[in-house]
Amino acid sequence: MKNKHRLLAVPFIAVCCLTAAQVAAQGGDKGEAALASEYSEKGADTCLQCHSVEPFFSTKHARRDDPRTPFAGLQCEACHGPGGAHAKGMAAGQLVPITITFGPKSKQTAAQQNKPCLGCHERDSRIAWKGSEHETNDLACVSCHQLHTARDRMLTAGGQAEKCLTCHIRQRGDFYKATVHPVRYGTIRCSDCHNPHGSGVAGKLLVKSTLNQTCYTCHAEKRGPFLWEHAPVSEDCTLCHTPHGSVYPALLKKPAPLLCQQCHSPAGHPSVAYTSQGLPGGTPSGFLLAGSCTNCHSQVHGSNHPSGARLMR
């Protein structure tokens, strides 16, 4: 299972791209507006003459004796940028905007708004923000997070679901289906499975290295390895399951026996067409009703029983 050529090509491509990027970047930045100007004379005391953000002062960001927080340093201007011209202008009755404003009405791009945040937070689980799905879709940190409130909604289960599902329309509908992962009830959070700040290359913004590892976080009993593995189970849980919600039991993509018959058609009962004749009004069929295939092959996630080769023990 080795592919030397491809593996060797990767660092080569990366180096080439990096070199090209470096060269190109030499002449860059011309189109970006300069953001810097002078700072205010008194810091927050100047800002608070006009702005009231009382809840902010009970948040982590406002711990002035902890040098890791913005309020131990440049205070409001740590995030909003130098406010000297803004303060002077406003005092003189002139509308001079603060260097950086946040939110949908901001004149700054998402990248410009995010820069102050990333100055401290671009590490650990946010290390791969640049190039991630949300970043490339021009989301700003404040598109989701609230900084001036006592509790950021994204740090609560209910607030997180509400915000995420504003854009993720399909998932919002999924959570009202017959079987779901209980995000709608607030007992698990979107961030239990997803890292919205970027998680590598595979996509889906998952919290763990692979999709299956993410599922094993709560379903470790399916991790195995088993003596008799069911090949798709060890490869990708979503080959059979849909993670957010399903019309069918156990978050399955479609009910058995049809789900199983997409991959199994040996001679005998697995290949038979089970029709409505097998319903209770006709000739009730154990291959169709109750657990269908799992009436006998109950160990679909793998069996460690020496006689479990057919996932029946």
Partner: protein
């Protein structure tokens, strides 16, 4: 990953790490001022602790496991308590949140910061109610041994078990998780963080299972008694230009039970088969070391990479091949699996804004599951009935994935962006019909943003081709040679997405979302041949008049698929099946400020209607299946009244109704199917009212 390529990967990352951190400057790039005289006299720092506490009662007037599936709510009156408290000092910070204390789903969280230290502890209970309509003749549900009544007379079929009806007893199937998590982090300097996070989770209760003696099956209630311990220790360092994180993670899963045995309710077709035994999930563990890093080459170019090396292990003692005393004990090649799977995951991503307008992204992922579990040939027993004629050899599946992504962005304006990309996704597998598949995807995206609206649209087209499709010789009986398993079959995929959001006035927001995914499996005579899914959604949020806000949404999703089957190898396919799921969800929410700063009222109504339509077509032209349906309507009205000062009262009335139909269980009693002694469950249906009243005090 080869050692040579790994060394090159490391060299790129380490070259970045070797760069010295540049001196700190203000985020905006301006020279940092002297802030020693910034007194912050007017800053309203809180004095002492603050928070709120709410005490109340919740009455649920009905019982349904479907209603309480994820909350555990049953017909009862619960005393509830919500509380939060925060202390914010100059250098420290302590925060406590207690949610739904007194209810079956409850959680507590506490976190504490103090200049370089932070620690947290949390506890949560998560009920999972599975079924309240099951019936079984077995006693001992929830234990590892299920027994039939002493007077039980075995029958050839479920209809000829004379004591079945009289011995049926209701059994509830449910489980509950209890999760305790805690952690400590130490930040000796601004750049370093060292920490450990621990989680201990138990899951106790029951679950559905089934066991059979050849084709005579019984649905069973199996015990769940799991515990999982996860520990992660990490160290991270962040300079202005580069960041790294190293971590070690271990996850230990333990199942207190190893097997489930049950009395055979069917007449013995072979002597001695009076008891069956199933294996329960074996205890296992997973270890992983990981390193991730990033280097900011310039303000416009950043590289990130990670490497994770993991090992899954499972070595629980094997159960005997049978518990049938009339069968000569079967010798096993070893006493336990000695199961070991090594996982390697490495990725590298370079993101560069080549200029103010052009951007380039290059990414690579290597994901390897190397199953090192030793192979052996096992003599085995068919469902505790008789020794199998042909021994079986276990197949330790391995796979390797190589994913390449290259894309370019062009900023048409600072807020408009066009993107193009290509992906190549290669999979290699062992012991499977297709040893290698390659999927190439090209995609394009355009996003446009203005002050009052934004639009984005994307399209992707992909083609997956595999190497030759060859039957796996160890699989017996063999699959139909023209079957193509859909995760390895040749596939053409198309994806379309469109999203628009507009804010025509300060008080109105409108959104439209559409997505389409279509897969064609053109070279699959038998198996999944086609699937298509689309979702369309619309949203409207408006402030109708001062103090009145309205929110409306609607979405419709349709999931279609087609598959072909073959009852005979000689002339496939000879039957087909079409599956269409249609799901519609609509909601309306209204919130009204009746008395400014005194009384708010609101109402929310959501309905969801889903239909699963399945048609299996054969030469006999049988009628279609009845639809699988579910209808959910949930309506809630609420009011929040500020009595005086920091004291407020919250009241709500919540009505929810649900109905469903599922032909797989409707009308299927314990003796309906001759060879399946079923649990006799019914599709859930309920109408439940929930009233709550609470008093909240803010301090």
């Amino acid at each position: 990953m080869t050692p040579a390529s790994f060394r090159m990967l490391v060299s790129i990352v380490s070259a970045g790490l070797a760069g010295a951190a540049s001196a700190q400057q203000s985020p905006a790039g301006a020279p940092a001022p002297d802030t020693s005289k910034w007194e912050c006299k007017s800053c309203p720092f809180p004095q002492g602790a603050g928070g709120d506490v709410g005490v109340g009662a919740v009455n649920v007037n009905g019982d349904s496991y479907q209603f309480g599936r994820y909350t555990g709510l049953k017909k009862d009156t619960y005393l509830g308590l919500d509380a939060s408290a925060r202390y914010a000092g100059g250098a420290g910070y302590a925060d406590f949140i207690g949610t739904d204390l007194g209810l079956p789903y409850r959680s507590l969280e506490y976190q504490h910061w103090l200049k370089g230290f932070k620690w947290h502890i949390g506890y949560a209970e998560l009920p999972f109610l599975i079924s309240d309509s099951a019936r079984t003749p077995f006693s001992g549900a929830g234990s590892t041994s299920l027994s039939l009544p002493p007077t039980w007379v075995r029958g050839v079929t479920t209809q000829t078990m004379p004591g079945l009806a009289a011995s049926l007893q209701d059994v509830k199937i449910d489980s509950s998780r209890k999760r305790l998590g805690y952690g400590l982090a130490f930040m000796p300097t601004r750049d370093w963080e060292l920490g450990v996070n621990v989680k201990h989770e138990t899951r106790e209760g029951t679950m559905r299972m089934a066991g059979s003696f050849f084709l005579n099956s019984t649905q069973l209630v199996a015990p769940v008694d799991y515990s999982t311990d996860d520990v992660e220790a990490y160290a991270s360092y962040a300079a202005s230009k580069w960041q790294v994180r190293f971590a070690y993670q271990v996850s230990m899963f333990k199942d207190s039970n190893t097997s489930l045995s049950w009395d055979n309710p069917y007449a013995e077709t072979i002597p001695g088969a009076t008891l069956g035994q199933l294996g329960l999930p074996p205890s296992n563990q997973f270890h992983q070391i990981s390193a991730s890093g990033a280097y900011q080459f310039t303000d416009r170019t950043r590289a990130t990479g990670s490497l994770a090396l993991g090992r899954m292990e499972q070595d629980e003692s094997f159960l005997p091949a049978t518990v049938n005393p009339t069968i000569t004990p079967v010798a096993l090649p070893r006493n336990s699996l000695q199961g070991q799977v090594d996982t390697t995951r490495a990725d590298l991503k370079v993101v560069s804004a080549l200029s103010a307008k052009w951007g380039l992204n290059v990414a690579y992922l290597y994901d390897d599951r190397n199953n090192k579990t030793p192979q052996a040939t096992f003599n085995w027993v068919t469902t505790d009935l008789q020794p199998a004629a042909t021994p079986r050899t276990n197949l330790p599946y391995s796979y390797t994935r190589n994913l390449f992504k290259v894309s370019a962005d062009y900023r048409v304006t600072p807020r408009d962006k066009a993107s193009l990309g290509i992906d190549r996704d290669g999979q290699e597998r062992t012991f499977q019909e297709v040893s290698k598949t390659t999927e190439d995807t090209a995609w394009a995206k355009y996003a446009l943003r203005r002050d009052q609206f934004e639009v984005s649209m994307n399209y992707a087209s992909g083609r997956r081709d595999g190497s030759s499709y060859t039957a796996v010789p160890q699989i017996s009986p063999p699959e139909n040679p023209v079957l193509r398993k859909y995760n390895m079959a040749d596939r053409d995929r198309s994806l379309v997405g469109f999203r628009a959001a507009a804010t025509p006035t300060e008080t109105i927001t409108v959104g439209l979302d559409y997505s389409l995914a279509k897969d064609d499996y053109n070279n699959s005579p038998v198996g999944l041949t086609y699937s298509k899914e689309y979702t369309v959604g619309v949203d409207l949020s408006a402030q109708v008049i001062q103090g009145t806000s309205l929110h409306l949404y609607y979405s419709r999703q349709k999931i279609k698929s087609a598959q072909a089957g073959a009852q005979s190898f000689t002339n496939p396919p000879d039957w087909s099946a079409d599956n269409t799921d249609t799901i519609q969800t609509a909601g309306i929410g209204l919130k009204q400020v009746l008395i400014e700063d005194k009384l708010d009222v609101g109402a929310d109504l959501t309905t969801s209607h889903s239909v699963g339509d399945i048609r299996v077509t054969t030469a006999l032209n049988e009628p279609a299946f009845p639809n699988i349906k579910s209808d959910l309507s949930t309506f809630k009205i609420y009011a929040n009244y500020k009595v005086k000062g920091e004291l407020s009262v919250y009241a709500s009335l919540w009505h929810e109704r649900y109905s469903s139909q599922n032909w797989a269980i409707d009308g299927v009693g314990p003796s309906t199917i001759p060879n399946v002694l079923a649990l006799g469950e019914t599709s859930p249906e309920y109408k439940i009212n929930v009233a709550s009243l609470s008093v909240r005090y803010r301090f």
